[in-house]
């Protein structure tokens, strides 16, 4: 049971919908639901991956953002060129803090922005020449890059530039892989399509590069897919896999390299953390290279142990023993953390509104701390994400798809959670409402949150936020007195 019972939750949704005009109301109603664990197919009660209604202030990004910021940005030795006007580059300045090991601007380029800075004349006369020149310049200035990728922004698709031809020509000239990515922002309804397009581009332009030339590899080769190394997440995950005896060949894409991508077809199992953004390539590798894949969850000790065991079940006894050894080694540390923070966090309610995997993946970690997730939603999920979420959430909790700023605020006002986890766009609105808030996209400049080491940071951060003394000082002193006076009278 959540905070509200089913009728109250339904009534809340109705109340929130009240302000919309008839048509918008009908549409938005399909995106909000009260969880019912008996439902096996989310599609019957929630609609997702649909175009946002104009005027309702969605929090989504565009396909270009999904491609440049999410999938391509974190590969450290691939220079990602934002091809088009300069403004879109907002998504490309490394704001997600995808950590990497390397020297920025010399051999690693995650936090450097490359843009072709389209001007009017490029729109009128075409930008292919400019792109070719840009690639030459980049090659001259940053010779240690291993590959380039070209992310097209809206105007490129509108004026019909042929970035594929330029990429092919330049790739031959400079002897590096150049990947054109057709991720114009107007495609699709959210950043989600950008992930898909990027997966397809990797499939077509990079993955087959070493077909037939790869060595056998070891029987314990695995790849981490869909971990963007935010605040060091992938590193905290990788060490656990290595400790149990697996050989991590590739990280997609946090701290990853092009050679790692090319080597991935030799792995024996693909480990998928962010299902939403990389399931496409995992499915492709399953078909073409016969590599099975599985989703795992490295948030919180319960889920980590569960995942480690499930990963090990794909391998022989040495790995299974390895998994048990790793779990046994870290469990006392985890018990100490839970003993410390659980009394401070027990019973607190959390509402989440994030992206690809976190609204469902972090539930276990919160529960380990005795907290309860009473509402969860995604910006750009599809039905398969909600299928998975319904199972994780308690009955009568709120689930919202592509929520608008207004809906979120209203839900929070009424449900009164002790913590809201969402992104930078929501952060200050909730701070002003006096609600403790954590950014769950970038970990609020903290991290890692994955793995056992990550849980220690996660628990500390949640405590730090929820129990911060500032929340009790929210009333100005003179208002405080009024409140006390009123209480006295009453």
């Amino acid at each position: 049971m959540g905070l509200l019972n089913r009728e109250e939750a339904e009534a809340l949704i109705q109340e929130v919908l009240e302000v919309y005009p008839e048509k918008a109301k009908k549409d938005r109603a399909k995106h909000l639901m009260v969880n019912d664990k008996t439902i096996t197919q989310s599609k019957k009660c929630i609609t997702s991956n649909r175009k946002s209604v104009p005027g309702v202030m969605t929090q989504r990004g565009c396909a270009y953002a999904g491609a440049r910021g999410v999938v391509w940005g974190p590969f450290k030795d691939i220079i990602a060129i934002s091809h088009g006007p300069i403004g879109c580059g907002q998504y490309s300045r490394g704001g997600r803090r995808n950590y990497f090991a390397g020297i920025s601007g010399v051999d690693s380029f995650c936090d450097v922005m490359f843009s072709s800075d389209f001007q009017e004349k490029d729109v009128v006369f075409g930008g292919d020449k400019k792109l070719a020149k840009l690639i030459d310049e980049v090659e001259g200035l940053f010779p240690l890059s291993k590959a380039l990728s070209v992310q097209s922004e809206c105007p490129i698709g509108l004026i019909g530039d042929d970035i594929e031809a330029v990429s092919k020509k330049k790739a031959a000239e400079i002897g590096k892989t150049v990947v054109p990515v057709r991720c114009e922002g107007f495609r699709g309804v959210s950043q989600s399509l950008g992930h898909h397009i990027s997966n397809d581009a990797i499939r077509d332009w990079i993955l087959p590069a070493r077909d037939g030339k790869l060595d056998e590899g070891t029987p314990y080769d695995v790849a981490i897919l869909g971990d963007y190394n935010i605040g060091g997440d992938a590193w905290a995950s990788r060490i656990l896999l290595e400790e149990m005896g697996l050989n991590v060949v590739a990280q997609w894409s946090g701290d990853g390299t092009i050679v790692e991508i090319e080597n991935t077809p030799k792995v024996k199992l693909n480990l998928l953390h962010c299902y939403r953004s990389m399931n496409y390539i995992a499915r492709h590798m399953e078909e073409k290279y016969n590599i099975p894949w599985m989703e795992y969850n490295f948030f919180g000790p319960s889920k980590i142990a569960e995942s480690l065991r499930e990963i090990a079940s794909h391998f022989d006894d040495t790995i299974k023993e390895g998994a048990e050894r790793v779990i046994a080694k870290y469990q006392p540390m985890m018990d100490a953390i839970i003993a410390k923070y659980k009394p401070r966090l027990e019973g607190k309610k959390v509402m989440l509104y994030v992206g690809g995997l976190r609204p469902r993946h972090t539930i276990g970690a919160y529960e380990d701390l005795g907290m309860e997730v009473v509402g969860a939603g995604y910006e750009f999920a599809h039905n398969d994400d909600y299928d998975r979420t319904i199972k994780e959430m308690k009955d009568a909790t709120l689930i919202y798809d592509d929520a608008t700023g207004y809906e979120l605020e209203e839900f929070v006002r009424q449900v009164k959670p002790d913590l809201v986890g969402s992104g930078i766009k929501e952060k200050y609105a909730f701070h002003k409402m006096g609600v403790p808030f954590r950014q769950m996209h970038s970990w609020d400049y903290s991290g890692p949150y994955h793995g056992y080491d990550g849980f220690a940071v996660f628990a500390r951060d949640m405590d730090m936020t929820v129990n911060n003394p500032c929340w009790s000082m929210f009333k100005a002193p003179w208002q405080q007195e009024e409140v006390e006076a009123e209480q006295k009278v009453a």
């Binding site: 599609k43 991956n49 898909h196 496409y280 499915r283 399953e286 078909e287 398969d384």
Partner: protein
């Protein structure tokens, strides 16, 4: 006509359409023998698709063209 991918899970065949990102269980398949495979397939969500009957693929997952006959998308 659309490209779909058929996989095998522990619960039977799974239908996946990359373009629309639809994943669902296959509850029934008209022909399911090594020599003749495909035909009408029914999905968990009520959708019905048609695959040209053919020799069963050697290995799953397998991508194939399918026609939507009925039901939700």
């Amino acid at each position: 006509m659309a490209n779909i991918m058929i996989r095998k899970s522990d619960k039977g065949y799974v239908f996946y359409m990359p373009k629309r990102d639809i994943e669902d269980s296959i509850v029934s398949m008209e022909f399911d023998s090594p020599e003749k495979w495909g035909g009408e397939i029914k999905l968990g969500n009520g959708g019905i698709y048609y695959i040209e009957p053919q020799v069963a693929p050697e290995r799953l997952p397998y991508s194939v063209r399918a026609k939507r006959i009925d039901g939700v998308e």
